[in-house]
Amino acid sequence: MPVEIDIAHVARLARLGLTETELEHYQDQLSVILDHAARVQELEGEPEVNVTHPLGLVNAFRPDEVRPSLDREEVLQRAPETRDGFFVVPPALEL
């Protein structure tokens, strides 16, 4: 199966700001890896997909009890920029 990769589109989806040279380099490498990965097509038959928890777990519920969370100040200290108890980011929308 020939593998077509629009590497610039993929990098954009992944929020990776790569240079043209880097994009070409990764495109070449991904082609080689995907050629190998395409061997998944060699599987014979169409087995039912069963990729559940190996020990058969379905859902994990716990009592809805109040318990301490991480300290807000301690968490915010680790952020690149904060103000008034909030994380600060550059504009996300153009106004």
Binding site: I5, H9, V10, A14, L30, L55, V75, A79, E81
Partner: protein, 487 residues
């Protein structure tokens, strides 16, 4: 001091001939003598470790006994959160990050009286098979410092092999505990998925990641597992049922057990010395009374292909959290998207970038079914192959790695060659079953060879039973010739 197993250290700590503080001083001396060559650690926490050792000593003196890890120096892979101690996952994007909480395994180590020596090197975000993909420089193999120790838990493996810790914790997504154990001549074990909490483990591929021990002996491995596993409400995939006793089978031999030799994990691509040692061990198991049969698991031939779609797909989703907002690196940008794109390009190394791109592609519109969907079908078929095999045999065996430790730099330019390092270990991650690597000898160049024992889910007692027999039959007691201790 000779390097001693934790089971032996535990005796000495209790008969008063050794203190936890002495033991810590000795491993720190080994670290001081070897770290310039080996670079197993990213951070050594002298202050915290001496405090923990002093507490372990005063508790033992007053009759408080926290079990097999009490007073034992442990190395923790740097992708497990340690409160107050820098945790980087070997990535620039987390440079300087100090977690505000402990991973559950770290809590269990502390509750068990263990002394955390420091944080060990890994391939960035545990992606790699050589510990060369670390933003802070590679780790080297104590058996030959021109070679790599395997990966991604190469730092913990090298620490145990050199004696700068008595036991280490690693994480295993496609072989990252077992392959470095094999390449450094120590025991490395990946438990059944869901039995060791992943809370506080920096996620790579959540359906595959599992924390486990690296140790000098099989018994040490079982004792460490016993201390760290168990249900954790903070991990939604944590197993809630009964846990077997991992130590129970050790010493019971293999008479009457059925051992399956995996047909697909031998032959072309395997070093002759590796094949020869593995075949010889199989014969010894037969001579010791095991029934040995060859078992074919045809889907193993395409397991690697499925893994390199599933693991990157999960990685691309998990690593989306590194966005320059809440913690870690931030590169300036005029918009949020520009800031994120610049931060991630600057913060992730080449292998992590490659896998994020690969995973994003495999999940993207138009390719999802051909790649990710088909990989999930292969994963299901692998499970069916395992189920069929375990209908005939108690355990499956194979080499842990097709080769011994390779030269530093040998595979860094060829990602696919690096990926092939994990061909024997990946199937058990895809199935979720436990597996262990036990050292069985040295090849003609003096490099360690590992033997893998696989068992069905929650089959740890059987796996350890066979592993202990393998250990005894192999009688492997060689140590690296690096000058270790100058006491």
């Amino acid at each position: 001091m000779d390097i001693i197993p934790i089971a032996k250290a535990a005796e000495l700590l209790r008969d008063g001939s050794l203190t936890a503080t002495d033991l810590l001083e000795r491993v720190l001396k080994v670290a001081a003598d070897t770290e310039a060559q080996i670079h197993a650690y990213l951070t050594i926490d002298r202050t915290g470790a001496f405090e923990a050792a002093a507490q372990a000593d005063s508790e033992l003196a007053s009759g408080v006994d926290r079990g097999p890890l009490h007073g034992i120096p442990v190395a923790v892979k740097d992708n497990m959160a340690t409160r107050g101690l820098e945790t980087t996952a070997s990535s620039q994007i987390l440079s300087g990050y100090v977690p505000p909480y402990d991973a559950t395994v770290v809590t269990r180590l502390r509750e068990g009286g263990a002394v955390i020596v420091g944080k060990t090197n890994l391939d960035e975000f545990a992606m790699g098979s050589s510990t060369e993909n670390s933003a802070y420089g590679p780790t080297y193999n104590p058996w030959d410092i021109t070679r790599i120790p395997g990966g991604s838990s190469g730092g913990s493996a090298a620490a145990v092999a050199t004696g700068s810790a008595l036991v280490g914790l690693g994480s295993d997504t496609g072989g990252s505990i077992r392959q470095p154990a094999s390449l450094t001549g120590v025991v490395g074990m990946k438990p059944t998925y869901g039995t060791v909490s992943r809370y506080g483990l920096i996620a790579f591929a959540s359906s595959l990641d599992q924390i486990g021990p690296l140790s000098l002996t099989v018994l040490d491995s079982a004792l460490t597992l016993q201390a760290i596993w168990g249900h954790d409400p903070l991990d939604a995939t944590s197993y809630r049922g009964e846990y077997p006793d991992p130590v129970a089978g050790i010493g019971h031999g293999v008479e009457g057990l059925r051992v399956g030799v995996v047909k697909e994990l031998a032959g072309e691509g395997y070093e002759p010395d590796v094949d020869e040692y593995v075949s010889s061990m199989v014969e010894q198991l037969r001579a010791a009374g095991a029934g040995v049969v060859e078992v074919s698991l045809p889907t193993f031939d395409i397991a690697l292909s499925a893994y390199y779609l599933i693991a990157p797909a999960e990685c691309s989703a998990n690593l989306a959290r590194f966005d320059g907002i809440r913690y870690g690196l931030r590169e300036a940008g005029d918009t949020t998207e520009e800031m994120m794109s610049r931060t991630r390009a600057a913060g992730f190394g080449p292998e992590v970038t490659r896998r994020i791109l690969l995973g994003t592609y495999a999940l993207s519109a138009g390719y999802y079914d051909a790649f990710y969907g088909q990989a999930q079908r292969v994963r299901s078929a692998i499970r069916e192959d395992f189920a069929r095999a375990y209908g005939q045999v108690d355990v499956l065996v194979s080499p842990t790695s097709p080769t011994v430790a390779f030269k530093a730099g040998e595979r860094t330019k060829d990602p696919l060659a690096m990926y092939l390092s994990d061909i024997c270990t990946i199937p058990c991650n895809l199935s979720g079953d436990p597996a262990i690597s036990v050292p069985i000898g040295l090849d003609s160049q003096g490099l360690p060879i590992g033997f893998q024992v696989m068992a069905p889910a929650l089959g740890e007692p059987m796996m350890y039973r066979v592993a202990a027999a393998v250990e005894q039959l192999a009688g492997f007691d060689a140590r690296p010739e690096l000058e270790l201790v100058a006491t």
